[in-house]
Symmetry: C2
Subunit: 156 residues, 2 copies
DNA sequence: CTATATCGACAACCATGTTGTCCATTATAA
DNA sequence: TTATAATGGACAACATGGTTGTCGATATAG
Protein backbone atom coordinates (compact mmCIF):
# COMPACT_ATOMS: atom_id res chain seq x y z
CA UNK A 1 0.00 0.00 0.00
CA UNK A 2 2.38 2.68 -1.16
CA UNK A 3 1.30 6.27 -1.69
CA UNK A 4 0.68 7.77 -5.08
CA UNK A 5 2.58 10.86 -4.09
CA UNK A 6 6.13 11.20 -5.32
CA UNK A 7 8.71 11.43 -2.57
CA UNK A 8 10.73 14.23 -4.07
CA UNK A 9 8.16 16.91 -3.32
CA UNK A 10 8.47 16.58 0.43
CA UNK A 11 12.06 17.87 0.79
CA UNK A 12 11.32 20.58 -1.74
CA UNK A 13 8.32 21.84 0.18
CA UNK A 14 10.17 21.73 3.47
CA UNK A 15 12.98 23.74 2.00
CA UNK A 16 10.64 26.21 0.34
CA UNK A 17 8.78 26.66 3.60
CA UNK A 18 12.04 27.40 5.35
CA UNK A 19 13.04 29.75 2.56
CA UNK A 20 9.76 31.62 2.67
CA UNK A 21 10.05 32.23 6.40
CA UNK A 22 13.73 33.15 6.37
CA UNK A 23 13.33 35.51 3.43
CA UNK A 24 10.34 37.18 5.07
CA UNK A 25 12.29 37.51 8.30
CA UNK A 26 15.21 39.22 6.64
CA UNK A 27 13.05 41.49 4.56
CA UNK A 28 11.32 42.67 7.70
CA UNK A 29 14.55 42.79 9.67
CA UNK A 30 16.03 45.03 6.99
CA UNK A 31 12.99 47.27 7.23
CA UNK A 32 13.44 47.46 11.00
CA UNK A 33 17.02 48.66 10.89
CA UNK A 34 19.05 45.50 10.37
CA UNK A 35 19.74 45.31 6.64
CA UNK A 36 23.14 43.66 7.04
CA UNK A 37 22.34 40.62 9.09
CA UNK A 38 22.29 37.39 7.07
CA UNK A 39 20.79 34.03 7.96
CA UNK A 40 24.18 32.68 9.04
CA UNK A 41 24.53 35.61 11.37
CA UNK A 42 21.11 35.02 12.85
CA UNK A 43 21.95 31.48 13.76
CA UNK A 44 25.27 32.53 15.21
CA UNK A 45 23.71 35.31 17.29
CA UNK A 46 21.11 32.89 18.55
CA UNK A 47 23.81 30.41 19.48
CA UNK A 48 25.90 33.04 21.24
CA UNK A 49 22.89 34.25 23.18
CA UNK A 50 23.05 36.25 26.38
CA UNK A 51 25.86 34.17 27.89
CA UNK A 52 28.36 34.96 25.15
CA UNK A 53 30.77 32.51 23.60
CA UNK A 54 34.28 32.04 22.28
CA UNK A 55 34.91 31.09 18.68
CA UNK A 56 35.67 27.51 19.67
CA UNK A 57 32.46 27.28 21.68
CA UNK A 58 30.38 28.76 18.90
CA UNK A 59 31.89 26.29 16.48
CA UNK A 60 30.85 23.42 18.70
CA UNK A 61 27.34 24.79 19.16
CA UNK A 62 26.89 25.28 15.45
CA UNK A 63 28.67 22.15 14.36
CA UNK A 64 31.39 23.87 12.34
CA UNK A 65 35.13 24.32 12.79
CA UNK A 66 36.40 26.91 15.21
CA UNK A 67 37.99 28.71 12.27
CA UNK A 68 34.69 29.01 10.45
CA UNK A 69 33.00 30.21 13.62
CA UNK A 70 35.83 32.68 14.07
CA UNK A 71 35.20 34.17 10.65
CA UNK A 72 31.51 34.55 11.38
CA UNK A 73 32.36 36.22 14.67
CA UNK A 74 34.75 38.57 12.88
CA UNK A 75 32.10 39.81 10.51
CA UNK A 76 29.52 40.10 13.28
CA UNK A 77 31.96 42.15 15.29
CA UNK A 78 32.70 44.34 12.28
CA UNK A 79 28.97 44.91 11.85
CA UNK A 80 28.64 45.92 15.48
CA UNK A 81 26.57 42.99 16.67
CA UNK A 82 29.19 41.60 19.03
CA UNK A 83 31.63 43.04 21.51
CA UNK A 84 34.71 41.23 22.65
CA UNK A 85 35.57 40.57 26.25
CA UNK A 86 38.27 38.70 28.13
CA UNK A 87 38.07 35.96 30.68
CA UNK A 88 40.04 36.85 33.81
CA UNK A 89 40.26 33.17 34.68
CA UNK A 90 41.67 32.03 31.35
CA UNK A 91 43.97 34.24 29.34
CA UNK A 92 43.40 32.19 26.21
CA UNK A 93 39.68 32.75 25.95
CA UNK A 94 38.25 35.67 24.03
CA UNK A 95 34.60 35.86 24.84
CA UNK A 96 32.18 37.59 22.52
CA UNK A 97 28.89 38.96 23.80
CA UNK A 98 25.90 40.50 22.09
CA UNK A 99 26.12 44.24 21.75
CA UNK A 100 22.99 46.26 22.27
CA UNK A 101 22.48 46.14 18.53
CA UNK A 102 22.96 42.38 18.56
CA UNK A 103 20.40 41.92 21.30
CA UNK A 104 18.00 44.19 19.45
CA UNK A 105 18.26 42.15 16.28
CA UNK A 106 17.59 38.99 18.23
CA UNK A 107 14.54 40.46 19.95
CA UNK A 108 13.17 41.76 16.67
CA UNK A 109 13.77 38.39 15.02
CA UNK A 110 11.77 36.65 17.71
CA UNK A 111 8.87 39.07 17.29
CA UNK A 112 8.92 38.72 13.51
CA UNK A 113 9.00 34.93 13.68
CA UNK A 114 6.00 35.03 16.00
CA UNK A 115 4.20 37.24 13.54
CA UNK A 116 5.02 34.93 10.64
CA UNK A 117 3.81 31.95 12.58
CA UNK A 118 0.57 33.80 13.26
CA UNK A 119 0.14 34.29 9.51
CA UNK A 120 0.57 30.60 8.88
CA UNK A 121 -1.90 29.92 11.66
CA UNK A 122 -4.32 32.20 9.88
CA UNK A 123 -3.80 30.36 6.62
CA UNK A 124 -3.79 26.78 7.88
CA UNK A 125 -5.75 26.89 11.09
CA UNK A 126 -4.31 26.55 14.56
CA UNK A 127 -4.87 22.79 14.76
CA UNK A 128 -3.26 22.01 11.46
CA UNK A 129 -0.24 24.16 12.21
CA UNK A 130 0.20 22.56 15.61
CA UNK A 131 -0.05 19.15 13.97
CA UNK A 132 2.53 20.15 11.40
CA UNK A 133 4.96 21.23 14.09
CA UNK A 134 4.31 18.10 16.13
CA UNK A 135 4.87 15.88 13.13
CA UNK A 136 8.09 17.61 12.20
CA UNK A 137 9.33 17.19 15.74
CA UNK A 138 8.81 13.48 15.43
CA UNK A 139 10.94 13.11 12.32
CA UNK A 140 13.74 15.54 13.15
CA UNK A 141 16.52 15.45 15.72
CA UNK A 142 15.79 16.85 19.15
CA UNK A 143 18.47 19.50 19.53
CA UNK A 144 17.09 22.42 17.59
CA UNK A 145 20.08 24.72 17.49
CA UNK A 146 22.91 22.48 16.41
CA UNK A 147 21.79 22.68 12.89
CA UNK A 148 25.16 22.40 11.14
CA UNK A 149 23.83 25.23 9.06
CA UNK A 150 26.70 26.45 7.02
CA UNK A 151 28.12 23.12 6.02
CA UNK A 152 25.06 21.37 4.73
CA UNK A 153 25.53 22.43 1.14
CA UNK A 154 28.38 21.39 -1.05
CA UNK A 155 31.60 20.05 0.48
CA UNK A 156 32.32 16.55 1.56
CA UNK B 1 -5.73 34.74 20.74
CA UNK B 2 -2.12 34.25 19.82
CA UNK B 3 -0.42 30.89 20.14
CA UNK B 4 1.82 29.93 23.02
CA UNK B 5 4.27 28.43 20.61
CA UNK B 6 7.37 30.43 19.72
CA UNK B 7 7.65 31.23 16.05
CA UNK B 8 11.33 30.47 15.70
CA UNK B 9 10.86 26.72 15.93
CA UNK B 10 8.90 26.47 12.70
CA UNK B 11 11.69 27.44 10.28
CA UNK B 12 14.13 25.34 12.25
CA UNK B 13 11.98 22.24 12.00
CA UNK B 14 11.34 22.79 8.31
CA UNK B 15 15.04 23.09 7.70
CA UNK B 16 15.86 20.08 9.84
CA UNK B 17 13.25 18.05 8.02
CA UNK B 18 14.82 19.02 4.73
CA UNK B 19 18.25 18.25 6.08
CA UNK B 20 17.22 14.84 7.38
CA UNK B 21 15.81 13.84 4.00
CA UNK B 22 18.66 15.21 1.94
CA UNK B 23 21.30 13.67 4.16
CA UNK B 24 19.55 10.33 4.08
CA UNK B 25 19.28 10.57 0.31
CA UNK B 26 22.97 11.19 -0.15
CA UNK B 27 24.00 8.54 2.32
CA UNK B 28 21.97 6.03 0.41
CA UNK B 29 23.05 7.40 -2.96
CA UNK B 30 26.67 6.97 -1.89
CA UNK B 31 25.92 3.40 -0.90
CA UNK B 32 24.37 2.79 -4.30
CA UNK B 33 27.37 3.91 -6.29
CA UNK B 34 27.09 7.69 -6.35
CA UNK B 35 29.32 8.96 -3.56
CA UNK B 36 30.31 12.14 -5.38
CA UNK B 37 26.98 13.72 -6.13
CA UNK B 38 26.13 16.67 -3.87
CA UNK B 39 22.79 18.32 -3.22
CA UNK B 40 23.59 21.12 -5.68
CA UNK B 41 24.29 18.52 -8.31
CA UNK B 42 21.03 16.76 -7.65
CA UNK B 43 19.03 19.91 -8.25
CA UNK B 44 20.98 20.66 -11.39
CA UNK B 45 20.55 17.14 -12.77
CA UNK B 46 16.85 17.35 -12.04
CA UNK B 47 16.64 20.69 -13.83
CA UNK B 48 18.57 19.43 -16.83
CA UNK B 49 16.37 16.37 -17.07
CA UNK B 50 15.98 14.25 -20.17
CA UNK B 51 15.77 17.21 -22.55
CA UNK B 52 19.21 18.54 -21.73
CA UNK B 53 20.14 22.17 -21.26
CA UNK B 54 22.77 24.79 -21.91
CA UNK B 55 24.48 26.62 -19.09
CA UNK B 56 22.37 29.71 -19.70
CA UNK B 57 19.16 27.68 -19.66
CA UNK B 58 20.13 25.86 -16.50
CA UNK B 59 20.90 29.16 -14.86
CA UNK B 60 17.44 30.43 -15.68
CA UNK B 61 15.77 27.25 -14.46
CA UNK B 62 17.66 27.32 -11.21
CA UNK B 63 17.54 31.05 -10.68
CA UNK B 64 21.30 31.63 -10.72
CA UNK B 65 23.68 33.29 -13.15
CA UNK B 66 24.75 31.45 -16.26
CA UNK B 67 28.31 31.53 -14.95
CA UNK B 68 27.33 29.77 -11.74
CA UNK B 69 25.34 27.23 -13.71
CA UNK B 70 28.34 26.78 -15.97
CA UNK B 71 30.56 25.90 -13.03
CA UNK B 72 28.08 23.34 -11.78
CA UNK B 73 27.89 21.85 -15.26
CA UNK B 74 31.68 21.69 -15.42
CA UNK B 75 31.94 19.68 -12.26
CA UNK B 76 29.07 17.42 -13.27
CA UNK B 77 30.77 16.78 -16.59
CA UNK B 78 34.05 16.06 -14.84
CA UNK B 79 32.24 13.55 -12.63
CA UNK B 80 30.76 11.85 -15.66
CA UNK B 81 27.13 12.76 -15.07
CA UNK B 82 26.76 14.90 -18.17
CA UNK B 83 27.87 14.66 -21.77
CA UNK B 84 28.19 17.64 -24.03
CA UNK B 85 26.51 17.95 -27.36
CA UNK B 86 26.19 20.60 -30.02
CA UNK B 87 23.18 22.19 -31.60
CA UNK B 88 23.32 21.98 -35.41
CA UNK B 89 20.92 24.92 -35.63
CA UNK B 90 22.91 27.22 -33.38
CA UNK B 91 26.67 27.11 -33.26
CA UNK B 92 26.74 29.07 -30.03
CA UNK B 93 24.78 26.59 -27.95
CA UNK B 94 26.51 23.79 -26.08
CA UNK B 95 23.87 21.43 -24.88
CA UNK B 96 24.54 19.12 -21.97
CA UNK B 97 22.59 15.92 -21.54
CA UNK B 98 22.46 13.32 -18.81
CA UNK B 99 24.95 10.53 -19.30
CA UNK B 100 23.88 7.03 -18.45
CA UNK B 101 25.41 7.57 -15.05
CA UNK B 102 23.51 10.82 -14.67
CA UNK B 103 20.22 9.20 -15.54
CA UNK B 104 20.98 6.36 -13.14
CA UNK B 105 21.59 8.76 -10.28
CA UNK B 106 18.32 10.53 -10.99
CA UNK B 107 16.36 7.28 -11.09
CA UNK B 108 17.96 6.09 -7.87
CA UNK B 109 17.22 9.43 -6.22
CA UNK B 110 13.56 9.16 -7.09
CA UNK B 111 13.36 5.66 -5.66
CA UNK B 112 15.15 6.67 -2.48
CA UNK B 113 12.91 9.71 -1.98
CA UNK B 114 9.87 7.47 -2.36
CA UNK B 115 11.31 5.12 0.23
CA UNK B 116 12.01 7.98 2.62
CA UNK B 117 8.51 9.30 2.21
CA UNK B 118 7.19 5.83 3.00
CA UNK B 119 9.17 5.89 6.23
CA UNK B 120 7.63 9.20 7.22
CA UNK B 121 4.24 7.79 6.33
CA UNK B 122 4.97 4.91 8.65
CA UNK B 123 5.95 7.29 11.43
CA UNK B 124 3.21 9.89 11.05
CA UNK B 125 0.36 8.08 9.37
CA UNK B 126 -0.73 8.54 5.79
CA UNK B 127 -3.37 11.15 6.61
CA UNK B 128 -1.08 13.33 8.67
CA UNK B 129 1.66 13.23 6.05
CA UNK B 130 -0.75 14.12 3.30
CA UNK B 131 -2.04 16.98 5.40
CA UNK B 132 1.51 18.17 6.01
CA UNK B 133 2.23 18.21 2.30
CA UNK B 134 -1.03 19.95 1.52
CA UNK B 135 -0.40 22.59 4.14
CA UNK B 136 3.11 23.25 2.90
CA UNK B 137 1.78 23.65 -0.61
CA UNK B 138 -0.53 26.36 0.64
CA UNK B 139 2.23 28.45 2.16
CA UNK B 140 4.96 27.98 -0.45
CA UNK B 141 5.29 29.19 -4.04
CA UNK B 142 3.89 27.00 -6.76
CA UNK B 143 6.88 26.36 -9.01
CA UNK B 144 8.73 23.61 -7.23
CA UNK B 145 11.98 23.50 -9.14
CA UNK B 146 13.03 27.11 -9.37
CA UNK B 147 14.25 27.01 -5.87
CA UNK B 148 17.10 29.50 -6.11
CA UNK B 149 18.96 26.91 -4.18
CA UNK B 150 22.54 27.97 -4.11
CA UNK B 151 21.98 31.65 -3.51
CA UNK B 152 19.71 31.57 -0.53
CA UNK B 153 22.49 31.66 2.00
CA UNK B 154 24.82 34.56 2.47
CA UNK B 155 25.10 37.28 -0.16
CA UNK B 156 22.91 40.28 -0.64
C1' DC C 1 23.51 45.19 -44.22
C1' DT C 2 23.38 46.66 -39.77
C1' DA C 3 21.93 46.86 -34.97
C1' DT C 4 20.80 44.11 -31.15
C1' DA C 5 20.51 40.05 -28.34
C1' DT C 6 22.37 35.77 -26.77
C1' DC C 7 25.89 32.15 -25.89
C1' DG C 8 29.99 30.65 -23.92
C1' DA C 9 34.52 31.80 -21.96
C1' DC C 10 37.35 34.32 -18.76
C1' DA C 11 38.78 37.07 -14.96
C1' DA C 12 38.32 39.17 -10.60
C1' DC C 13 36.09 39.07 -6.51
C1' DC C 14 33.36 37.63 -2.20
C1' DA C 15 31.55 34.52 1.33
C1' DT C 16 31.85 30.40 3.78
C1' DG C 17 33.41 26.39 4.52
C1' DT C 18 37.61 22.98 5.15
C1' DT C 19 42.59 21.16 7.03
C1' DG C 20 46.81 21.92 8.84
C1' DT C 21 50.36 24.34 11.56
C1' DC C 22 51.95 27.06 15.32
C1' DC C 23 52.31 29.37 19.83
C1' DA C 24 50.53 30.62 24.30
C1' DT C 25 48.09 29.05 28.08
C1' DT C 26 45.80 25.87 31.09
C1' DA C 27 44.87 21.30 32.97
C1' DT C 28 46.36 16.93 34.26
C1' DA C 29 49.12 13.05 35.61
C1' DA C 30 53.73 11.07 37.03
C1' DT D 1 56.71 20.10 40.92
C1' DT D 2 57.34 19.20 36.65
C1' DA D 3 56.57 16.93 32.09
C1' DT D 4 52.91 16.05 29.04
C1' DA D 5 48.56 16.73 27.05
C1' DA D 6 44.62 19.46 25.78
C1' DT D 7 42.67 23.82 24.52
C1' DG D 8 42.18 28.53 22.46
C1' DG D 9 43.27 31.60 18.97
C1' DA D 10 45.84 33.15 14.77
C1' DC D 11 47.20 32.40 10.23
C1' DA D 12 47.81 30.17 5.74
C1' DA D 13 46.34 27.51 1.87
C1' DC D 14 42.71 25.75 -0.45
C1' DA D 15 37.79 24.23 -2.32
C1' DT D 16 33.20 25.40 -3.58
C1' DG D 17 29.76 28.12 -5.26
C1' DG D 18 28.06 32.33 -5.75
C1' DT D 19 28.49 37.37 -8.01
C1' DT D 20 29.59 41.14 -11.79
C1' DG D 21 31.82 42.55 -15.76
C1' DT D 22 33.97 41.98 -20.34
C1' DC D 23 34.52 40.09 -24.84
C1' DG D 24 34.33 37.65 -29.26
C1' DA D 25 31.36 34.66 -32.01
C1' DT D 26 26.88 33.69 -33.72
C1' DA D 27 21.84 34.59 -34.59
C1' DT D 28 18.06 37.35 -35.47
C1' DA D 29 15.23 41.54 -36.55
C1' DG D 30 14.72 45.75 -38.95
Amino acid sequence: MSSDRPGFELPLRLFLGFRVLIDALHDELARQGHPDVRPVHGFALQAIGSEGATAAELGRRLGVSKQAAGKTIDSLERLGYLVRDTDPNDARRKVFRLSERGADSLAKSAAIFDQLRAEWEEALGADRLRALEDDLRRVTPADPLRVDIPGWFGHT
